[in-house]
């Protein structure tokens, strides 16, 4: 029996993924042109984001820090990428208001990136001198060691607001419940469906799933990010059409479309 690997440049079983990717990229290209005029793309306001500003303002008045928890995902998770993006506007606002920001990180690379983003945000707010080196710090890459440290910080330093953005797993309830007990304003954004219920129960505002991705565009108001959200919406509209057509064809005894969507 031949056990040599089958080396191919392209896996034809995944042609559907390539077509999907090209379609999305074309949506993105069109919307990038549209987004040059920022007013041409509307994004529905998200209540959780309006609260973000209030929470930072409240923390400033109380003289307490803001705790920004970017989850325990690594760079391969889209939620983590969104958490890094959102950390920029949050850091900028804390810099403008003179509020202390603390960001405990699970992944050292994420810590390095958020540190860079926060430094940049302080610089853009002309408050580079106010940035405290070490306010974005690595804790531990062990899930519950990270939880123990973050919950300890919540109880000892009593942040006025806890902001959870990113990819969360079993630690979500531990963090959000402890934060709730300290009386802090809590805003969460997570794309893990199994963890969202815990944030919904114990936080004041929760960004559900894709709202997390939209949040970074809404806060940043950068043409590229707005274009991404618009392209995603076009893709969703296309998905609705594909599903309706697929069901219709399947009812007529032609299930090919459903089979074509299946990937190996």
């Amino acid at each position: 029996m031949d056990s040599s690997p089958d080396l191919r440049w392209f896996n034809l079983d995944r042609l559907n993924l390539l077509i999907g990717l090209f379609l999305f990229l074309s949506f993105l290209a069109i919307n990038r042109v549209r987004a040059r005029n920022l007013d041409s793309i509307y994004i529905r306001p998200l209540p959780g984001l309006k609260a973000l500003d209030e929470a930072i303002g409240r923390a400033t008045e109380m003289g307490r820090p803001i705790l920004y928890v970017p989850g325990i995902g690594d760079m391969s998770e889209v939620g983590t990428l969104a958490a890094i993006t959102i950390s920029g506007p949050v850091a900028r606002r804390t810099a403008e208001l003179g509020c202390e920001l603390r960001v405990p990180c699970y992944d050292p690379v994420v810590a390095a990136l958020i540190d860079g983003v926060a430094r940049q945000a302080y610089s853009e707010a002309n408050r580079s001198d106010s940035y405290i080196a070490g306010s974005v710090y690595y804790v531990s890459a062990t899930q519950f060691a990270y939880v123990a440290s973050v919950t300890g910080t919540m109880l000892r330093d009593r942040p006025a607001a806890n902001i959870y953005m990113g990819a969360f797993y079993a630690e979500s309830l531990f963090l959000a419940e402890t934060g709730n007990q300290t009386g802090a304003v809590q805003i969460a954004g997570c794309d893990q469906v199994t963890q969202l219920p815990f944030f919904v129960c114990s936080c004041d505002y929760t960004l559900l799933g894709e709202e997390l991705y939209a949040a970074s565009a809404y806060l940043g108001r950068e043409p590229d990010q707005l274009a991404t959200i618009a392209a995603q919406d076009w893709a969703k509209a296309l998905a609705v059409v594909v599903v309706l057509l697929g069901i219709l064809f399947a009812l007529l005894g032609r299930p090919e479309l459903g089979k074509w969507l299946q990937t190996s």
Binding site: S76, S140, I229, K259
Partner: protein, 204 residues
């Protein structure tokens, strides 16, 4: 030795449980011990499982290619000094680029195509048709909720409201399921304390 392990595990468990009352030195001791031990453990694991087999042994065997990722890794340490800070940006850019490239196709496959393929199914007969109709209505309503770039008119708003109800029902089910799993973990820990440590419960 095993008795010592049980005592250490039991006392540390109790230290962590004291958190239910309030933050205190016992909890802080367990917290710092946990963070410190995990950092040391991960360092050893990274050396044994990543650095040694992938870099040291290969380079010693004459293969110099692993020196490239090793150099990128060392460049991240450039962050420690102001003069070399820029070096870390190159390594991080490479890291983010690679991971984004990996994430996009796998996300497309797992989160979009797999779900679409599951949604495109003919309606079953009898009660199964009601189930299929509910899935379709839920799909359309939830998509309506997550459509961000159009102002919500009356129809869109109504559909989005139905969508949020579907989401909340799903969250409720998930919440109950996960809480039961957490209760099982608590039961296992209490059994450990009562059986292995205090010998109140009979051996399993």
């Amino acid at each position: 030795m095993q008795i010592l392990e049980i005592w250490v595990a039991s006392l540390l468990t109790l230290c962590v449980f004291t958190f239910l009352y309030r933050d205190n030195p016992l909890y802080r001791f367990a917290e710092h011990l946990f963070v410190g031990v995990s950092a040391g453990y991960l360092l050893a694991v990274q050396y044994q499982n990543v650095l040694r087999p992938n870099v040291i042994e290969k380079v010693a065997g004459g293969n110099l290619m692993p020196l490239i990722p090793a150099a990128l890794g060392l460049m991240i340490l450039g962050r420690l000094a102001k003069r070399t800070h820029g070096l870390s940006q190159w390594a991080l850019a490479f890291y983010v680029g690679i991971y984004s490239g990996i994430a996009v196709p796998s996300y497309l496959q797992a989160q979009i195509f797999a779900q679409l393929a599951d949604a495109v199914k003919p309606f079953g007969a009898g009660w199964a048709a009601i189930n299929s109709a509910l899935v379709l209505i839920g799909f359309l309503a939830v998509i309506a909720y997550f459509y961000f770039t159009a102002p919500q008119n009356r129809v869109h708003k109504a559909a989005a409201r139905v969508g949020i109800w579907f989401l909340m029902v799903a969250f409720g089910a998930s919440f109950g399921y996960t809480v039961m799993a957490r209760v099982s973990l608590l039961i296992a820990r209490v059994q450990f304390l009562l059986r292995d440590w205090m010998h109140i419960l009979p051996p399993a």
